[in-house]
């Protein structure tokens, strides 16, 4: 410790440098605010990424290593929790955006008022958001243009009002996207090129995104995809006001005598402990780790965890769920090309329709089935080894695709993230324990969406269709929301409409944790737009 001095106080301390933390950092730094960012994981450069499915998918090159970062899951609080890598997200500068292909649809206006639209659903804790689509709309556009999104404005017939187009036209059309759109056309359903975190052409001094097969769940060695690592972090660094400290694991947020956060207590890679002081603290760890850090931060004022007077921290967690109908075609669809996620989408079954008998709906889109190889993939119901397995690998590889759903799982008070009472991580801290049982609405909606995916496959000429229904929520989307829901009433929410803790005036959360509902769409565009909105607010407050 002798050679290390106490860090200087910052204007704002952001915990996490993923999608939301980097977005907030960019906005704050460009407005003249001095930011210290404490990121648990490493700051990797593009040179460290490669086309290596074994390392990236099987060997935890990007995913958290479950031996070092275990998590547990149980269905109900009466069950024993077991080790389960529930809803992992890469823990490094850039977070999940390092290895995604970034489907970036906007939420719709109804997503912000699902309780009003759908009414009360027994067993669920549906809530309207304390803000409207129109309030967030300008920030959607800012993120789409700053981040670099390729898409076609107006192509999604169910999208709400937009005040401008996309900076780049859609990505080139893959064969699998073509099949999907042919199927939707035949059914009379609207479909559109999936808005993507990639550049279809050079933009803003950046090259067009390389169309490798090693993309989904692989880092980007070319630096051409749109990610927090490639865009927002460099933007923030360029201001000279972004002090980003990787390998800095925050163990606790410590209160001062006034009931504000005084310091973030963190450990660097040598194991030395520091206290980082700041005027404002922003949690951007992802909804699970944000809740975990709040629950780890106990004090006399908050014996059950920071800002947890209401016992709502960690509750109402939602995760989506990814599942699909898989189709086989006579002609090749090459669904590994471009990494399998240069896609097409439909919101035809997205909005709530009471006649379906369940609440809400979800985004349906086409994707590949290997990432990109069939190492980690097998069609359900087929053998895993032997001559038949090999024949299927060979015959299906270039001829199969998945029509997948993003399930809008319902928030429930009993579904929660809290601290495991036995399992600790490699740093000795209790890990996140998920208690989660799907609502009947989740299962019904999931079946419906998979059935509609199968309709698309049938209508596009698939010779065989296999439906894979989701029978539980496994967290396999790496989407996390709701653990610190925002609202106007401190009795029923953790954060206010500006994502500031009702109970702690200098604490904000900007990842998915504020989301009262998870919606049926990929959340990261909205997470970044909301982080930008909150950062703007913090800048305005400082100016007063």
């Amino acid at each position: 410790m002798a050679s290390k001095s106490k860090p200087q106080k910052a204007d704002v301390c952001i915990i996490g440098a993923g999608a939301s933390g980097a977005a907030a950092a960019k906005v704050l730094c460009e407005a003249g605010v001095k930011v210290v960012a404490l990121e648990k994981g490493p700051w990797r450069t593009r040179d460290s990424f490669g086309g290596d499915e074994l390392a990236n998918i099987n060997r935890y090159n990007l995913w958290p290593d479950p031996i070092l970062n275990p998590r547990t899951w149980r269905e109900t609080e009466n069950d024993a929790a077991r080790d389960e890598m529930f809803c992992p997200v890469p823990q490094m500068v850039g977070g999940g955006t390092v290895h995604w292909q970034g489907w970036l649809p906007r939420f719709t206006a109804d997503d912000f008022r699902m309780r009003t639209v759908a009414g009360d659903l027994p067993g669920a804790s549906l809530a309207d958001w304390p803000l409207t689509y129109d309030e967030l709309e300008p920030y959607y556009l800012k993120v789409e243009w700053a981040f670099g999104v390729s898409g076609e404005a107006g192509a999604n017939a169910f999208e709400s009002r937009r005040s401008g187009g996309y900076p780049c036209p859609p990505m080139p059309v893959s064969r699998y996207a073509q099949k999907f759109r042919q199927g939707c056309d035949a059914l009379g359903w609207n479909s559109f090129p999936t808005p993507q975190a990639a550049l279809s052409r050079p933009f803003n001094g950046r090259r067009a995104t390389v169309v490798s097969a090693f993309a989904q769940q692989h880092g980007d060695p070319t630096g051409t995809r749109s990610s927090a690592l490639n865009v927002f972090v460099p933007d923030a660094v360029a201001t000279g006001r972004y002090d980003l400290r990787p390998n800095s694991y925050v163990r606790e947020l410590a209160l001062d005598r006034d009931g504000r956060i005084g310091a973030a207590v963190y450990q660097d890679e040598d194991g030395d402990t520091f206290e980082q002081e700041a005027d404002v603290f922003i949690l951007a760890c992802g909804a699970m780790e944000t809740a975990r850090l709040m629950l780890l931060s106990r004090s006399g004022r908050f014996p059950n965890g920071l800002a947890n007077d209401s016992d709502l921290v960690g509750r109402n967690v939602t995760f989506h769920e990814y599942s699909a109908a898989v189709g086989i075609y006579d002609d090749p669809v090459y669904a590994w090309a471009g990494g399998g996620y240069v896609s097409a989408s439909t919101f035809q079954h997205y909005n709530h329709d009471a006649s379906r008998g369940f609440v809400s709906g979800g985004h349906i889109a086409v994707a590949g089935v290997g990432i990109p190889l069939p190492i980690n993939w097998r069609l359900p119901g087929t053998p895993s080894w032997g001559a038949e397995a090999k024949r299927i690998d060979r015959e299906h590889y270039s001829h199969s695709l998945a029509v997948a759903m993003v399930l809008h799982d319902m928030p429930q008070h009993s579904n929660r993230v809290d601290l495991d009472d036995e399992v600790v991580d490699a740093w000795g801290l209790p890990v996140a324990r998920t208690t989660l049982k799907p609502h009947a609405n989740d299962l019904a909606q999931g079946r419906y969406l998979i059935d509609r995916g199968a309709d698309i496959l049938d209508a596009s000429g698939a010779k065989s269709v296999t439906k894979v229904y989701a029978d539980r929520v496994t967290g396999n989307c790496s989407h996390q929301h709701g653990t610190a829901r925002m609202g106007d009433d401190p009795d029923t929410s953790v954060l206010d409409r500006w994502c500031r803790a009702h109970a702690v005036p200098n604490l904000y959360c900007v990842d998915g944790s504020p989301f009262p509902t998870g919606t049926g769409a990929n959340p990261t565009l909205t997470i970044m737009a909301n982080a930008w909105r909150v950062a703007d607010r913090i800048v305005a407050e400082r100016g007063r």
């Binding site: 040179d47 990424f49 490669g50 086309g51 290596d52 499915e53 074994l54 390392a55 998918i57 099987n58 060997r59 090159n61 995913w63 290593d65 070092l68 077991r82 080790d83 890598m85 992992p88 080139p172 059309v173 893959s174 064969r175 073509q178 279809s200 052409r201 067009a208 390389v210 169309v211 490798s212 097969a213 090693f214 060695p221 070319t222 051409t224 990814y322 090459y334 090309a337 471009g338 089935v369 990109p372 069939p374 190492i375 980690n376 993939w377 097998r378 359900p380 895993s384 080894w385 032997g386 001559a387 397995a389 090999k390 590889y397 270039s398 490699a426 894979v468 396999n476 989307c477 790496s478």
Partner: protein
């Protein structure tokens, strides 16, 4: 640096089992792909677990990551040592000297019996269902697997598939035969992906690559 783990008998036993998991037919199988060499390298220690992303060698693991992998290797090695013993014991019960000396059809029967017994008394955590693709009842639609939680046979299946389809730098997929079998036009080497010259745009819809040729060096 050693790149092997098995003794000669263990090696020939596992190689024989791998040859039933991805058999040789009119196209190459696990034997021709060198899946056994892939597995030897995997189990040999920490020296061949992560290729450098430009394909120029292997990363040196340190600190917590190295410790985690040593833990993982110890678990997997024990499963293989026990697994070979079990295969031989089953072979002896049907009158053979050992597993490797059985004919292929009898080897399949033994492997199916191992699989069946595991199903009857599952120890493979259902964590892996829905995640672990090749070895679980559910497909892997997303995410990684947790190999240490797999029983011997699913672990062997997983590693055989890895050895067949992973980049040749890991010792399997020799001569890219795994990719050729399924028709994957993979990169000539990891370097092509790393430097951005590898592209799959020509496998997009008709005419799409032409429209954007000016933006892509690799086309």
């Amino acid at each position: 640096m050693s790149d092997t783990f098995f003794d000669p008998h263990q090696r020939s036993t596992i190689e024989a089992a791998m040859a039933r998991i991805i058999p040789t037919d009119d196209t190459p199988g696990a034997r021709e792909a060198g899946c056994i060499d892939f597995l030897e390298r995997t189990l040999s220690g920490l020296d061949y677990l992560f290729a450098k992303p430009d394909g120029s060698g292997f990363e040196v693991l340190e600190g917590r990551t190295a410790q985690a992998w040593q833990t993982r290797l110890d678990i997997m090695r024990a499963k293989y040592v026990d697994g070979v013993r079990d295969l031989d014991a089953r072979a002896e019960r049907v009158g053979a000297r050992d597993f490797a000396s059985l004919d292929p059809e009898r080897q399949d029967e033994v492997l199916r019996a191992v699989e069946g017994d595991a199903h009857a008394a599952p120890t493979t955590s259902t964590v892996s269902t829905g995640l672990a693709g090749p070895v679980s009842a559910e497909p892997a639609l997303q995410q990684t697997s947790t190999e240490t939680e797999l029983d011997f046979l699913p672990l062997l299946v997983t590693h055989t598939r890895q050895g067949f389809y992973a980049d040749p730098i890991y010792g399997g997929n020799r001569g890219r035969v795994g990719w050729d079998v399924i028709g994957f036009p993979g990169p000539a080497s990891m370097k092509e992906v790393h430097d951005g010259t590898y592209t799959t745009l020509r496998y997009f819809a008709e005419g799409e690559a032409e429209k954007v040729r000016e933006f892509h060096d690799g086309l």
